[in-house]
């Protein structure tokens, strides 16, 4: 019984060591992901992208960097693969995050090359767009006149010289907007969907997802990829397990570590209280 009381004051370093081991294990050993079908949030985004008519373009706002790479990279990867498989053209922006274009490029370029996509004709990276004037103003500006707000792409090439951008002038030319990042901003919903009626989908970190369920429920968001769970479900819909399917097992082990720590803490607390009562 004495050892149970020690759980109450367990040295945190043991917890850290156990957590590190639990997180690394599924990366070293391939653990099969139990198949459970896609949630409504994932299915909604998949269907919205799948229903893109010929000639329309999908806009991706990629606002993630190293801090949120663990979840956002797979979310961008699976959606770009879907677009390329469907032969749908896309435009990438990073509104408000300087590092966004670099990370997006690292994910998109190999997939685009693999599918025979040519830069400028089939996809364009418009790069970083500063939003210091207020994100709403910038998003509204992009919706009304894309060329005016962002006259050059990430490499500095005038977008008027890129064939794809000839057909992307306002939000009316865009089938849907997919925003992927730590916590995609609500301005995209307010302006792109609220004012112009263009569908908006999000890909966000798991911890930020509760914020978006209300918009999903109201239909203002067509779908949400929730962390690695969302990307693993999306990959299952594509029939091609990838990064998300591998990382969801890491998240599984991490969540189990949190629950195990809570159980250990409670057991230790009860044991310590019982000992105190017996001592009285």
């Amino acid at each position: 019984m004495r050892w149970l009381t020690k759980l109450h004051t367990l040295n945190q370093r043991w917890l850290y060591l156990a957590t590190a081991m639990l997180l690394v294990l599924p990366l070293l050993v391939r653990v099969p992901v139990p198949s459970s079908g896609a949630s409504g949030a994932t299915r909604g985004l998949y269907d919205a992208i799948d229903s893109c008519p010929p000639g329309k373009v999908v806009m991706i706002n990629s606002n993630w960097d190293m801090g949120s790479r663990a979840e956002c990279e797979a979310q961008l990867d699976c959606v770009v693969r879907h677009l390329c498989r469907k032969r749908t053209r896309f435009v990438v922006t990073s509104v408000g995050l300087v590092f966004g274009p670099m990370f997006a490029e690292k994910v998109i370029r190999p997939i685009a090359r693999e599918h025979g996509y040519r830069y400028g004709r089939d996809w364009v990276n418009c790069g970083y767009i500063q939003a210091s004037g207020g994100l709403g103003v910038v998003v509204d500006g992009l919706c009304r006149d894309f060329h005016r707000v962002r006259p050059a792409d990430a490499n500095g090439t005038p977008i008027a010289e890129l064939p794809l951008m000839d057909r992307v002038r306002t939000v009316r030319d865009i089938h849907m907007v997919y925003c992927v990042g730590y916590a995609p901003e609500r301005e995209w919903i307010s302006f792109v969907n609220g004012q112009h009626g263009t569908p908006v989908g999000f890909g966000c970190m798991s911890i930020m997802a509760p914020e978006y369920y209300t918009f999903l429920d109201s239909g203002q968001l067509c779908g949400v990829l929730v962390g690695n769970r969302g990307s693993s479900e999306y990959e299952a819909l594509l029939g091609r397990p990838g990064l998300g399917s591998r990382l969801i097992m890491v998240a599984s082990f991490g969540n189990c570590a949190i629950l195990a720590a809570a159980v250990l803490g409670n057991v230790g607390m009860w044991a310590a209280e019982r000992k105190r009562r017996q001592a009285r």
């Binding site: 459970s36 000639g55 032969r87 053209r89 009304r144 009626g197 599984s252």
Partner: protein
């Protein structure tokens, strides 16, 4: 006098955006559902998923592209001015953006010159700022390539900055486990409710939860419970918070717009 000018500009700009939004719009300005923005004939996506990788990207018929590119009618009489006003706001925002670095430089420079407490940190900040600006200014140019600025830029961006981001976020995993051990204690009913909700959501968001309850009927699985918790109790709370915060934001915006509650001089 200066503040009066700022307040006047704020009022006029606010009035412009408000009127542009509220005044009746023509066809081109009408909000519509997704169906309204799409062509009537939507190609069935059935065979697209199996299209070969080398197939050309589907091109739209010229008429379709033209129809999408040119809205039939402009909105109200203020709409044509909107891009210019929006650009003005972006430019003003960019100017305001400079205020942060300027203030930081002034403060840290003062600390450094006074040899005050934290001068080492101030020195590090100023050195990093100068290095960052220099590297970014030369990056991509011929001179920059000769000076090795491209390599330095990549080293700073992908080597140093991303390593800092990754480390700080990765540490959260350890803090979460540590916090769960110390704080998620079953002391009373409220704590119990939170612990149960946390357990359901944590397990419902990962495949382990599906696996644990795979033998149970659908409505008893962790996944269904998680969905219910996130959609109803969480959704209700989120809406309440959002409505309250939006009301506060409207009040604050009105005060700014009308220049209420601020001293003139």
């Amino acid at each position: 006098m200066r503040k009066s000018v700022v307040r006047a500009i704020t009022f006029v700009a606010g009035l412009f955006f408000l009127l542009e939004f509220l005044l009746p719009a023509g066809e081109g300005r009408k909000p519509g559902g997704p169906a309204a923005t799409q062509p009537a004939a939507v190609a069935a996506p059935g065979g697209a998923a199996t299209a070969p990788a080398t197939a050309p990207v589907r091109a739209a018929a010229p008429a379709e592209v033209g129809a999408a590119a040119k809205p039939k009618k402009k909105g109200n009489f203020l709409t044509p001015l909107l891009p210019d006003v929006t650009n003005f706001a972006i430019v003003v925002g960019a100017m305001a953006f400079l205020l942060g670095p300027i203030n930081l430089v002034r403060n840290h420079l003062a600390t450094l010159l006074r040899r005050g407490k934290g001068r080492v940190e101030s020195c590090a900040f100023l050195a990093c700022l100068v290095l960052g600006i220099t590297v970014k200014s030369f990056e991509g140019s011929e001179l920059g390539a000769r000076l090795g600025m491209d390599v330095l830029h990549d080293a700073l961006s992908f080597g140093v900055a991303t390593a800092f981001f990754a480390s700080s976020m990765a540490l959260l995993a350890f803090y979460l486990v540590s916090a769960a051990h110390r704080a998620l204690r079953l002391n009373n009913l409220e704590a119990g409710l939170m612990l149960v909700a946390a357990t359901i959501v944590l397990l419902g968001q990962v495949p382990v939860g599906d696996w644990l309850t795979s033998g149970l009927p659908g409505w008893l699985q962790f996944r269904s419970w998680t969905q219910w918790l996130l959609t109803y109790p969480n959704g209700g709370v989120q809406r309440a918070v959002l409505i309250g915060a939006s009301g506060g934001a409207i009040a604050a915006s009105l005060r700014h717009w009308l220049g209420l509650g601020t001293r003139t001089e």
